[in-house]
């Protein structure tokens, strides 16, 4: 079955301290197939990151399901869901790098469970760093990097396993114009017939690259609407 990612009537709510429930996402429907890129925009606090975490299998919906390649992955038991998540690369809003590790070590981490030799893993990591133009930082401790550099390292970490689904949350937030242009250009380049790309951003610089998004969604009051 070819690659697809579908949100089917997905809702998510959180329980408040007074036991009442706050709906974060309501009946979200979304369908993406291989080769498509999607842009999700919305105000701060609209639930963009939450939706991305649901799509990446990091959160479970309160209702509805997320179907990948025809399988309801959001309802799978933890062991199988974790295995499926290896197909997904995610760039978080904050870099979430491991302090004390070098850039190369941080980038290698997601591919270690694959069981390849350390030489192969290092080769993959160097390629990912080269792609982002940060191979010169490989031996540095991540604490010594600027915010923009850290963000690029986190993008390298997301693409090192060459995932079929790449999800990015504000990947250009800490970049100057030059850095943002490079990242956007890379994302456009990663839009291959066998991949699905999803980016949440309200950075207007993405709008300049119409080539990226096949679908544009607006998230407002927990509801997702596809914009024409």
């Amino acid at each position: 079955m070819s690659l697809s990612l579908v949100c089917q009537e997905v809702s998510l709510s959180r329980r408040r301290a007074d036991a009442s429930e706050r709906a974060i996402l309501k009946d979200v429907n979304l369908t993406l197939t291989a080769g498509q890129g999607a842009m999700i925009s919305g105000k701060t606090g609209a639930g963009k990151s939450t939706l991305l975490h649901l799509l990446a299998g990091l959160l479970r919906p309160s209702q509805g399901q997320i179907i990948a390649n025809g399988q309801p992955v959001s309802r799978w038991n933890t062991v199988h869901r974790d295995l499926w998540r290896r197909q997904v690369g995610i760039v978080f809003q904050k870099p979430h790098l491991i302090n004390g590790f070098t850039v190369l070590e941080n980038v290698i981490l997601p591919v270690i469970p694959r069981g390849a030799s350390i030489t192969q893993l290092r080769k993959l990591a160097w390629e990912a760093l080269d792609t982002l133009g940060i191979s010169h930082l490989a031996k540095q401790n991540v604490l010594s990097l600027s915010g923009g550099e850290q963000q690029r390292v986190s993008i390298a970490r997301a693409i090192v396993s060459r995932p079929n689904i790449l999800i990015a949350d504000e990947p250009t937030a800490h970049q100057d114009d030059e850095g943002a242009a490079l990242i956007i250009e890379k994302f456009v380049g990663w839009k291959l017939p066998q991949t699905i790309l999803i980016v949440a951003a309200h950075d207007p610089r993405w709008a300049l690259h119409g080539a990226f998004a096949d679908k544009h969604f607006l998230l407002e009051n927990g509801r997702l609407e596809e914009m024409q």
């Binding site: 309160s62 209702q63 799978w76």
Partner: protein, 344 residues
């Protein structure tokens, strides 16, 4: 009641595992009445989350229950005989509990059997992402609950009866049960020799069935494992009877000392642990071999995993039977070669 740390550990372990199993059972009950795998409604999604938590709780409960059972056995065989006056082994300790602890052990092993069954099904269940056996396995989890209560209550009542000032007869009781030498040489009116022949005939049968179940094609698999399960259920009590009544003599080097608990003493090199351990493995793996084969037939999605588990159970059973018969027969053969006669 004596407040020995080991007994307190058993009671605390039992209570902890019971509470955990109860928590899992509450979810299992909801699953039995509300589980709708086709639905993506809020209730079903919540139930799926709860099911994962219940699985963890039940696994932890099983581990704690196993630990507390092991502690109880160590207490009965090697710790409490030092405390109960007149007790030299577990027989004396069980007398001190008015036999309650013996009953508790039987119920505990039955609970442990159901729990092991649940764990086997759970492993098969989790081999598929959609966990197709969840509802079925919840029933197995619920089935254990009344016996779990009974085991914990009986164990606790038995522990309460232990009195460090009241002497017991211990092994004198073992000898007192026979009115004559003839009575000591038969069980239920059947001579020991016939029991021994039955034991070895059934041993040959169980080994044949185990090999058949390992080598058979898919079509005959249920038949082979079913026969293995039935023979296991008959073989285990006969093996235990012949061990206590006939073969224990070669470990004790004393005639007609029909005590299972002395086998756990250090002077007999704790030989009761591997012997009864092998019997427990055989008791578990025989039925599991059949049930896994049945699951493979009923759930095609689980076929490879269930068949592998069925074969593994057959293999474990085969090895345990070989190890058990070796441990039982070798001392007897050694004695026969040295002294030229069988004991008794």
């Amino acid at each position: 009641m004596i407040w020995h740390p080991l007994l307190i550990a058993v009671v605390v372990g039992d209570l902890l595992s019971l509470v955990l199993w109860l928590g899992a059972a509450a979810t299992a009950f909801q699953i039995v009445i509300k589980w709708v795998p086709q639905s993506a409604a809020r209730e079903q999604i919540q139930l799926e989350r709860k099911a994962e938590t219940a699985r963890l709780a039940a696994k932890f409960s099983l581990a704690v229950f196993f630990l507390s059972t092991a502690l109880l056995i160590i207490g009965i065989t090697n710790v409490l005989p030092e405390i109960v006056p007149g007790a030299m082994c577990g027989t004396g300790v069980l007398q001190a509990t008015d036999g309650l602890e013996g009953r508790a052990l039987m119920v505990r092993f039955f609970v442990f059997f159901i729990m092991a069954l649940w764990l086997t099904y759970e492993k098969l269940n989790l081999s598929r992402p959609d966990a197709p056996l969840t509802k079925y396995n919840s029933r197995v989890l619920l089935l254990a609950l009344p016996f779990f209560f009974l085991a914990v209550i009986t164990t606790f009542r038995g522990i309460l009866r232990i009195d460090s000032h009241q002497p017991v007869d211990c092994c004198a009781m073992v000898y007192d049960q026979f009115g004559s030498l003839t009575a000591a040489r038969q069980i239920a009116g059947i001579p020991n020799t016939l029991w021994v022949w039955t034991f070895w005939t059934l041993t040959a049968l169980i080994l044949l069935c185990a090999v058949w179940s390992l080598r058979t094609k898919r079509t005959n698999r249920e038949k082979a494992t079913g026969s293995l399960a039935v023979i296991t259920v008959i073989w285990v009590p006969i093996a235990a009877i012949t061990l206590v009544r006939v073969y224990a003599a070669y470990f004790y080097q004393v005639l007609h000392h029909h005590c299972p608990w002395c086998l756990f003493l250090p002077e007999h090199k704790f030989v009761g642990v591997p012997l009864f351990g092998a019997l427990i493995i055989i008791t578990l793996e025989g039925p599991i071999s059949y049930l896994a084969a049945k699951t493979a037939a009923n759930y095609p999605d689980l076929l490879p995993r269930a068949r592998r588990r069925s074969r593994l159970a057959g293999l474990r059973l085969l090895l345990a039977v070989v190890a058990y018969t070796g441990m039982v027969a070798l001392p007897a053969i050694y004695w026969r070669l040295i002294y030229g006669v069988w004991i008794g």
